[in-house]
Structure formats: C-alpha cells, structure tokens
Amino acid sequence: MGALLQVDDVFVSFDGFKAINGLSFVIGTPELRAIIGPNGAGKTTMMDIITGKTRPDSGDVLWGEGGASLLKLSESRIAQIGVGRKFQRPTVFGAQTVRDNLLLSLKSDRSPLGALLFAETAEDADRIEALAEEIGLKDALGRPAGALSHGQKQWLEIGMLLAQDPKLLLVDEPAAGMTPQEREHTTELLKQAATTRAVVVVEHDMEFIRRLGCRVTVLHEGSVLAEGSIDHVTQNQQVIDVYLGR
C-alpha cells in the first residue's frame, strides 16, 4: 500500500478563524478511510483544499508516487489527474438524462475542442450500461436526473464519480437522508470502489462507519485528534470528550 495523498502540516484561516490547524495525514491506495469530527472540525475545508477550491496559508498537499504538489493546480486539473468529489447534497444535472449525466463523467478529453469532436464509442455505451447496473439505475437511463428520488440521485452521483475513474474518491456524508436499505446498498458501493482505489468518507453517522469497517481518522479543531480502528478511536478518552460524549 503506497501513499497516494499526503496532507502535510496544512494551515488555513478565514478572517482569523483557524479552520485547519496543522493538519497532516496520509491516504494509501487502495484504502477505505472514514473521517469523522464534530461540526466545525474542518472536514469540508479539508476537502476544499484537496480539490483545489481553497488554497492553504501554509503546508503542502502531495499526490502520488512522485509526490507532486496539488496546490498549484486548478480544480479541473486536479479532477483530471484523479481526484473525485461527492458533495453532501446530491448534485446531478437535473435537466439532463441519467445517461447524459454518466456520459458527461466518463473519462474523456476534457477540452472544449475534445467535447466538440466527441463521438461516443460502443465501449462508452457498454461502460455506461455496466455503471447503471451497478448503481441500480439501469431502467432509469432515459429519465431526466431531476426526476429521481433523493437516494437515486445519491447513487447517480456515486456512479458519476466511478465513471470518472478517480484514483481518490472524496465522499461527503453519503448516507445522509437515506433509508436503511439504501444505506446498505451505498455501503456495498463504497466498499467495492475501495478495492481498486482510495476512498475517503466523511460521515457523522457512527453506525454507518462501523459498517464500513475501515480505518478512522478523527478531526477536531482543524487537526487530527486520533486515528485507528473504530474500536480504537471510540475508546480514546479525548475523542469521547470532544465528540462522542456529547
């Protein structure tokens, strides 16, 4: 298991508020990792930094074997080299069909000219079919994505991320607002995805994390409080004090 992503002593402050305060951690590949923490612990800011939306004041974010810095790249460039992000609220393109949503995400030339000259191959069509099967939306391919239920939108978004075939998948609260059955399906999807790539799940729900059965990182006030198995961190006194005990 080699290091894929290395967040190294990162600091970010907004108007004097230290959102990220010396944050360091390493994600390997393949790996499934859960990140938990109370509100304001810096979970979302951490993802903003990795995906290029927010620039840190100091520190570095290194990527891959070569350890190239992500900090100088644009959001779209970071996405192109293999960082996929799923937002808390499902964001699919409602006016377009499920199929078009998946096609949009499929690996391809991302330049305007590339999009203009794009012609769908049989391989693309097969890949879309396979993805739709995997996320349980095979019968809904022709439907506008806006007409899907909340859970279906979440899956479509996960499907879109898988279509991007990222090396690192950042997932923000995937189980929020889902029925128990939908949660189970989502767990399977994430576990499956983590066999070939790194998946980082940010989640509040302890039960959901326990089901993922993976290494857990606890954030607090912008830095790592504890790291280890779910049983290890839930027995940590500091973690209990700031998070679980409340």
């Binding site: 779209s76 192109q80 069909t97 949009l104 391919l141 279906q152």
Partner: protein, 417 residues
C-alpha cells in the same frame, strides 16, 4: 415509452425542430420572393422585404444570445456590440467602394487623368467631409478590399469577445457582475465610436450602405431580395450549427455549466475555456448577422450599439423562451416585428376620452408588461407553446403524454450482496 433509447440516434431524429425550422424558413423565403416587387407579384413593398430580411438577421443574433444565455447561463448584455462591429466592418467597404465609383465617374471627364493619390484624396473628402476631415484614419487601412473587410467581420468581434471573455471569465466574474461588465463594454464602445477622432464618422455613422458598389443599375427591389436570401441562408446555417452544437457532448457540458458550474469543474472540465468558447463563437455569429443587417438598414451609427439594444435582445430571448433555439427565433421575430409595427405609427391609437394611447410612446410599456407576464406566468416563453402542442400530439394516439413519467416509480431494489 417516451424515454430516449440508450444508444445515440441520428442527428435529425433527435432534433426534429431543425428540419421543421429549415422547411418553414424555405417556405417563408419562397413566399416573400413570389410576393416581392423585384421578383414576383409586387404585393410586398421593398421596404417590407427589407424589414423581413433584417428580422431574419435579428433572429440570428437571438440564436447567439440563446446559446450564450439560455444554454450556457451567461447573461451577456453586450452582444449588440459585436453585431454593430460586424455592421461597421462591412459598412466601411460598402462606403469606400461606392464612393470610389462616384469619384471615378466624376473625374472621368477631367482633362488630365487623375493620379491614384488624387482619387484617394477625393474619396477621403467625400467620406470624411462631414466630420471636417479628409484623411483616411488607420482603421480604414483595408477598406478597399472586400475580402479583408469580410475577414474583419469575423475577426474584430471575435477578438474583442476573446479578450473581454478571457479577462472576465479568468477572474471568475459571473452572474449579475458579468452582465454589468458586458453593459459597460458596449457602452464604452458606443461612446468611443461617437467620437469623430475614432475615424468612423462619429455620430453620423456610415450611410448609403444599401447601395452595392458597381450595381447602380440594379433596383433596390432586387437587391433587397438578394439580401433576404443571404439572411435566410445564414439563419438556416446558424440554426443547424447551433442545434448540432447543443445536441452533442459540448452542449451537454455547456448546459451543465449553466446548472452547476462548480460541479462541472470537479468533473475535470475547464469551465472557463468552455465559457470563453461559447462567448467568442456567439460574438462571431452576432458579427456576421450585423454584417447582413446593416446593408439592408442602409445606415449604421453608434446609437445602434447603445446598451439598451443588448437588453432588448435579452428580452426577445426571454419572451421567446430561452434554452430552446426555436424559442429565440420566435421571440426575436415576433417582438421585433411588433415593435416595428407599433413604433412605425401604423398601429391605431386608442382614444380613452381623457387620454389617447399612442403606441409610439406606449409600445415600450406594453413590451415591459409583456416581459413581466411571460417571466411570471410562462417562464418557458412563446417557445413553450410549441412544446404544449407537440406534447398534445404525442398524447393523442391513446398514450399518456410525456408528463406521466413521474418521480420514484422505478425505484430499484437494493442489491443483495
């Protein structure tokens, strides 16, 4: 049922509006030709033919506006600047070549044949006398070449849009701020052209553009039909091109940018490049439309690219229904023709006893009320009426219409693994 089949179908099967539109445009052009003074029965006056030809050009820039606003979500309130620039570029050649003809004619009987410099000077006096000058400004360097001025019709609006768009999009200026910037751009350009020093005859603008050089013997009734044909051809090609553009993956990305720009960025698409491409492309379409419009109008001056013109353009597209190409065309045609009718003094006044509604003044109020009503009660615009009709057609043969496809009836079973 009405769901689209999984595989991509042929272009025209997916875009039935293209064939219908081109057929309708063909019928319209043929009818206008048959009824015209120049080629047919003489039931349509030449000025009306010109109005129709100009309307086709306005439909063309409306398609450009729909692409940039309705599809890409950039509310540009400056596209008439590009339209006007296209007009100025072709106008310079028309004016130069025509004046050259006149000067050559008047000097033909001179005892000593004039030198080349004398001819150029005489042209200069003819064109710039009105602003108290006779020197050719540098802007007119290529005015004697039709080919070069035609190239400038594309290049000048294109490069201005490219430079403006690059600066604006790179700084992530969006929404209302971008709209204000585009207004500032068109206002600045208009003020710049108003100055005599600019070299485009200030507030006089360029005139006599309806006279094609070398064709003095051809009556306007014939020339007007030529331009109608050219405008119809350009509009048809623009529609076809725009439909192709929005139906492919490029269109998919562009509409995704309209709906959620940040999300598209995280899919790895360089959003700014796409916006720049659409902005520049539509500026070029606007420039070509302008180059066809102003020879039919006969005159262009800086007032044409005042900020209000571009706002009207947005109103046309909103009333017609943005996000659908035929909506833009319908909106531009209906509103601009109505505007011509109401402001042309031919609409009957309405006497209320204590006050008489004169449409020349009240047309704008009517337009404003119409705009508000469409925005509030029919956000899909006039183009939405077409959808209503089409959906009814589909519903007729005993099948439920598209609408019946509702949320959540195909919820998949969670997979057991």
């Amino acid at each position: 049922m009405s769901a689209r089949p999984a595989s991509r179908r042929p272009f025209f099967a997916d875009n039935p509006s293209v064939l219908i539109f081109i057929a309708a445009l063909g019928v319209f052009t043929a009818l206008a030709t048959i009824l015209s003074e120049g080629f047919g029965l003489g039931l349509l006056s030449t000025s009306l033919v010109k109005t129709l030809g100009k309307t086709l050009c306005l439909c063309m820039i409306a398609i450009a506006m729909d692409l940039v606003w309705g599809y890409c979500g950039i509310l540009s309130l400056g596209h008439f600047a590009f339209f006007g620039l296209g007009g100025y570029m072709i106008g310079m050649w028309l004016m130069y070549a025509r004046t050259e003809d006149i000067v050559a004619e008047s000097l033909a009987n001179a005892p000593i044949p004039p030198t080349e410099q004398e001819v150029v000077d005489a042209i200069g006096v003819q064109i710039f006398g009105v602003v108290g000058s006779s020197e050719f400004p540098w802007i007119w360097t290529f005015a004697d070449s039709l080919a070069l001025q035609l190239a400038l019709v594309v290049l000048v609006p294109g490069l201005l849009a490219l430079a403006f768009g690059w600066l604006a999009f790179r700084s992530r200026v969006t929404g209302v701020y971008l709209s204000i910037l585009t207004q500032a751009m068109t206002l600045a350009l208009s003020l710049y052209l108003f100055q005599n020093d600019t070299g485009l005859r200030g507030n006089n603008g360029l005139s006599g553009l309806q006279n094609l050089p070398g064709l003095d013997d051809t009556p306007q009734s014939v020339v007007s039909i030529w331009f109608l044909w050219a405008s119809a051809l350009a509009l048809g090609l623009t529609y076809l091109f725009a439909a192709w553009l929005v139906s492919g993956k490029f269109g998919s990305v562009v509409q995704a940018i309209r709906d959620d720009e940040a999300r598209v960025r995280f899919l790895g698409y360089p959003v700014e490049h796409f916006k720049l491409a659409v902005f520049t492309l539509t500026a070029v379409i606007a420039g070509i439309a302008g180059a066809l419009y102003y020879p039919q109008a006969g005159i262009i001056n800086p007032a044409e690219i005042a900020p209000i013109a571009s706002i009207y353009l947005a109103v046309w597209v909103a009333i017609g229904g943005r996000g659908r190409l035929y909506g833009a065309v319908i909106g531009a045609a209906v509103v601009s023709l109505l505007s011509t009718w109401f402001t042309g003094g031919r609409a009957p006044d309405i006497p209320l006893g204590f006050y008489t509604i004169q449409w020349v003044d009240w047309w704008q109020v009517l337009l404003g009320v119409g705009f508000v009503c469409v925005t509030l009660y029919a956000p899909k615009g006039l183009g939405g009426l077409v959808d209503l009709l089409v959906n009814r057609e589909i519903a007729l043969p005993g099948r439920p219409a598209k609408r019946s496809e509702t949320v959540g009836d195909a919820r998949p079973e969670p997979s057991e693994t």
